[in-house]
Amino acid sequence: MTSRTPSAARLTRTELRTSLLLLMVATFVTCIAGALTGAVTLDLGQVWSVAGTDRTIFLQVRLPRVLLAATVGGALAVAGAALQPTLRNPLASPDIIGVSGGAALAAVFALAVLPSGLGQYFVPMAAFVGAASSSALVYRLSLVHGRLEPYTQILVGVIFNTFAASLILLVSAVVDMSRTQSIVFWLMGGIAVHPYPVLALVAALVGIGTAVLVREARTLDLLSLGDETAEHLGVDLGQSRRRVFAAASLMVGAVVALTGVITFVGLIVPHLLRRILGSDNRLLLPASLFGGATFLVLCDAIARTAIRPAELPVGAITAMAGGPFFIYLLRRSASAGRDL
């Protein structure tokens, strides 16, 4: 790709509106289709018209699950899209800020020590606390002379995640087998059914984070030019980086607490959308919200139906879809010249 494919060389109002509208419709249609698909295929007419089993399954089981998948996918994709220009690295994913590593470590610790009945309530809480404290730690360790340095931040994030992963292995090695299995399942990442109030809380946190990031969209474009040029164009680097870091941590922490670590969504979705829609973050960030939602609802539908009636962890599906696809994109970019 040596030039931008859409008609204009810049983001126009029409392109902004049309793209977002199409993505919204895609998300809506995928959510409805996703909620009708599963071990039992539901009939939309039945669900709509009469109170019965179909309706109960739809409202109590499928819909909350699909809504969670949409929220989680959207949150991971927006966080990834915002962190990539902030860290000036198109390969940065939300995991890089240490949120998932810390969440996983705390959740695994909770799964290892808590009586099994309490896990349902306390594991998400432990994971959220772990996410918040680990991102605060990574933030603190990434400050150089009081400023956030992208390269230091990436290195600290990678090292922190490796450290967390080895501690997780250590904990898994010393607990009994039944707990090891629940640990492995949590680590693979999965979308479960949660009560509507919990979904509303997570959606609110994701909404707040998204609003903060979208407000910073233009700043994110300027950050791509490099720290000094961004400052020359009026960006307050410290303030912008702190906002992006805090908003991304909040969103990713909230979703990871409920679903465990789901990889590749924050990497693949912004990357793909950037190739189609261009890099302007005023479009890319809101587009990633809907793109990520659609992508994860699809992956979850596959996870529920591929080996029905059994289910696969959705994290395994995103990794299986994402890994090879990402390698393909990178190879294609490499052969077309430097053009991520």
Binding site: S3, L11, T229, H232, L233, D236, R275, D280
Partner: protein, 265 residues
């Protein structure tokens, strides 16, 4: 206001080396073209960073466009002062037009898209730097010379009163060097835009600039008209190399020719 830049006894010291600025006094009148020259490590880029507000000096007073270039007025500063530094790759597929439009950011509030006036400013900047034909191209696929011209276009789109440039001609061929400095001279002439440029080419410094500041080890060795500053003696002392300096009959400006160290006389 008669002076775009006033520096008094400005000090700046890097943590890891003894280079920096030592008691720099400098006045740049509004509407002038000032070249900053000097050997590697003499403090040229540091001086430019102080003027751009990227680093805060440890001592002395700095006034740029009527005030200190500090973070408190970063956005309003960006509407008056544009900076062209070294161009690195972006890593994200932005088009040339998108990059130039980023120069309008200090004039646009928040999330809003660019207005017709912003697009006109960008188009004009791209015409004058001869990059209009590249507007659809992805910035990272351009040659280094083309990227440099796009950076100048982005700075022009800011519609600044003062432009600070660090080695803007480094990657440009001789035609494009002329295009760039002709353009800066025209903007200086027609709009009264003040230009301060760091450069290594002493011939270009003499050809286009009315004031030359020669830095040596962080201090101002000489400042004034090119023919007063760029002399055989000053260049030999500061750069510690032999040169031939002469007046060119065609341009009426200096000709500076470096002489090989192994020269047999």
């Amino acid at each position: 206001m008669s002076n775009a830049i006033e520096l008094r006894a400005v000090e700046y010291r890097y943590r890891s080396s003894d280079t920096g600025l030592k008691g720099v006094d400098l006045v740049v009148p509004t509407g002038s073209m000032t070249a900053v020259i000097g050997p590697n490590g003499s403090g040229k880029t540091t001086l430019l960073r102080v003027l751009a507000g990227l680093v805060t000096p440890s001592g002395g007073d700095v006034s740029v466009c009527g005030g200190p270039p500090d973070s408190a007025r970063r956005r309003s500063f960006a509407r008056q002062v544009a900076v062209v530094g070294t161009q690195s790759l972006l890593g994200f597929p932005y088009t040339v037009l998108e990059v130039v439009l980023m120069g309008r950011a200090p004039h646009i509030e928040g999330f809003r898209l660019e207005s017709e006036a912003d697009l006109e400013a960008a188009a004009e900047a791209m015409e004058s730097t001869e990059v209009a034909a590249l507007s659809h191209r992805i910035f990272d696929t351009l040659s280094s010379g083309e990227r440099q011209r796009v950076a100048v276009a982005r700075a022009l789109a800011q519609e600044p009163r003062l432009m600070l440039l660090d080695e803007p001609a480094a990657f440009l061929d001789i035609k494009q060097q002329t295009v760039l400095y002709d353009l800066l001279a025209a903007l200086n002439e027609e709009r009264g835009m003040t230009v301060v440029s760091v450069l290594h080419d002493l011939n270009l410094a003499s050809l286009y600039f009315d004031q030359v500041v020669l830095l040596d080890q962080g201090s101002v060795y000489a400042a004034g008209a090119p023919e007063d500053v760029i002399t055989y003696a000053s260049v030999r002392e500061v750069y510690q190399t032999d040169v031939y300096v002469d007046m060119n009959d065609l341009t009426g400006k200096l000709n500076v020719l470096p002489l090989p160290r192994s020269r047999k006389t």
